[in-house]
């Protein structure tokens, strides 16, 4: 296994306030890394640093290294970077338009014009996100009419359609019911062979169910990183223990 993503002494400030402090962590290729922690602990910021969405925010500055495939993200062509590092947002955001349009959006941006090829990509992506059977007869109806869980799987399909190497998920199940959550977790497990996953969640049980390793963020610091089983059963840091057992958070 090789190192897919490496953060070294990563510090991030927004409006002079530190949001991430001295983060050192490595994500291996094809693993599922869960990032847990209470609200405002810097989890989302970490993801947004990785695909550089954070640069759209005024007052942002960063020191240290953040490497994708041994090259700092800031030296990647930003569009190329974002195609390699896909992101699923906390609330499903289908773009107004049909289901097909949503999934085909990314490939079209890349310049795929051939309609047969697009149709193939759409089907493949929807199958991978376990949504194909539910929507195959209504690909050309509005994506907004899908249920919340379906919308989130649509967003996953949309991200997969760009053929990323890393898939970041920012609390992807926060607004969903248990059945939808199970479907999405199932999709993640099935897809792990092909992608590297970073799963941000404030649902501790979800991290325990799905991930290989778990990182615990608190107030912008990486408190602990280890195999999921160890973080949950024998945490080395008291604060981790407090959090996973529900005493703080």
């Amino acid at each position: 296994m090789n190192e897919k993503i490496v953060a070294r002494n990563l510090n991030v400030m927004v409006d002079e306030k530190p949001v991430l402090r001295d983060i050192n962590l490595t994500v291996m290729a094809n693993e599922i890394l869960a990032i847990i922690g209470p609200a405002h602990s810097g989890k989302t910021t970490f993801l947004r640093c990785l695909n550089r969405l954070i640069e759209n925010q005024p007052g942002f500055s960063r020191t240290g290294e953040l490497l994708l495939d041994n090259r700092d993200v800031r030296y990647w062509d930003v569009d190329e970077l974002r195609r390699r590092v896909g992101m699923i947002f906390a609330t499903p955001v289908p773009l107004p338009g049909t289901i097909f349009d949503n999934v085909a959006y990314g490939p079209k941006l890349k310049g795929v014009r051939n309609s047969r090829l697009l149709a193939e990509i759409v089907e493949k992506s929807l199958r991978a996100a376990f949504l194909w059977d539910e929507v195959k007869d209504r690909l050309f109806t509005s994506a907004l009419r899908l249920s919340g869980g379906q919308q989130q799987r649509l967003c996953i399909a949309r991200t997969l359609a760009v053929e990323p190497e890393v898939v970041m998920m920012d609390e992807p199940c926060s607004g969903l019911d248990p059945i939808s959550t199970a479907q999405i977790e199932n999709a993640i497990r099935e897809l792990r062979a092909y992608y590297t996953f970073i799963l941000v969640t404030n649902n501790v049980k979800q991290a325990a169910r799905v991930s290989d390793r778990t990182a615990f963020f608190l107030s912008g610091e990486l408190v602990e990183l280890g195999p999921t089983a160890q973080v949950f059963t024998a945490p080395r840091d008291r604060r981790t223990d407090d959090y996973v057992s529900g005493r703080i958070g």
Binding site: L53, Y105, K108
Partner: protein
């Protein structure tokens, strides 16, 4: 027994309601008065034949054509500039001295009286650029006049697009211009169209800015380099010179109908935009 503050409150309510009612009565009176006197004048002959004897008799065909030409030129020219400005203000800059100056320019332009646009269009397009009194000069003058309307409405429409839509597009590898063209503008389209349609309405209604730029020739304009008389100008001349009250009413009725249709359309589109983004 009613206490004094409550009594005052009721009186005030009554007074303010009366003022509001008065405003509505004025609106309906104007529309009603023009309709009652003007609607019977509208016949196919009135709409589709040439005027005779300076407009004393005959129809208003050339003024309809001139109005359509002038208003379309105005909208076609102003829309790219207006939408471009709105996109620049919302997507490409943060609040800064530059955006404040640009906005100030648009606001100040909106406050310029239409007669000044008329003078400006006359001296620049008609005289300096040697277009003469022409549909083109009139259309360009109106384009400058409606620019602020289109900027303002487009900017509002674009700001109503949720930030997440843009983030989704960026996160899928979209560049800024791709995001603007494929996500922002298509979704803001109803709002942008509202601005364009309101601009169209102002162009149709305008008199002072076109009379000195498009001229007042009653001939059928064949090219945009020929002069033409818009409906509003025709109505003004008919009414002011007392040529034909009947035809003045008819023309006014047509103007009012166009304005009503345009405003309704603009309102429905804005309504659609806000509903779709909820």
């Amino acid at each position: 027994m009613i206490t004094r503050p409550l009594l005052v409150q009721r009186l005030v309510w009554f007074g303010l309601a009366l003022l509001t009612l008065l405003t509505l009565i004025i609106l309906f009176f104007i529309i009603g008065y023009i309709t009652v006197n003007g609607a019977p004048v509208i016949t196919p002959e009135f709409l589709f034949t040439m005027p005779e004897r300076m407009g004393k008799a005959g129809g208003i065909l050339p003024t309809i054509i001139a109005t359509v030409y002038v208003a379309l030129i105005a909208v076609v020219v102003a829309t790219p500039f207006g939408v471009g400005t709105a996109v620049y203000l919302t997507e490409y800059t943060r609040e800064s001295l530059l955006t404040r100056v640009i906005r100030f320019g648009a606001d100040a332009l909106a406050g310029v009286p239409s007669i000044i646009f008329g003078l400006f269009g006359f001296i620049l397009f008609v005289i300096r650029l040697k277009m003469g009194w022409s549909i083109l000069a009139g259309g360009l003058t109106l384009a400058v006049m409606i620019l602020p309307t289109i900027i303002r409405t487009s900017e509002e429409a674009i700001r109503a697009i949720p930030e997440q839509f843009r983030e989704v597009s960026y996160s899928l590898g979209g560049t800024k211009s791709q995001t603007v063209m494929r996500v922002v503008l298509p979704n803001a389209l109803p709002g942008i169209l509202t601005g364009v349609i309101l601009g169209l309405g102002r162009s149709v209604a305008e008199t002072a800015a076109v009379i000195f730029t498009a001229g007042s020739s009653l001939r059928l304009p064949k090219t945009i380099l020929e002069p033409g008389r818009t409906m509003a100008v025709h109505f003004y001349i008919l009414a002011r010179e007392g040529l034909s009250m009947e035809r003045a009413y008819g023309t006014a009725f047509l103007l009012i109908v166009v304005i009503l249709v345009i405003n309704t359309l603009a309102y429905l589109l804005m309504f659609r935009l806000t509903r779709r983004l909820k």
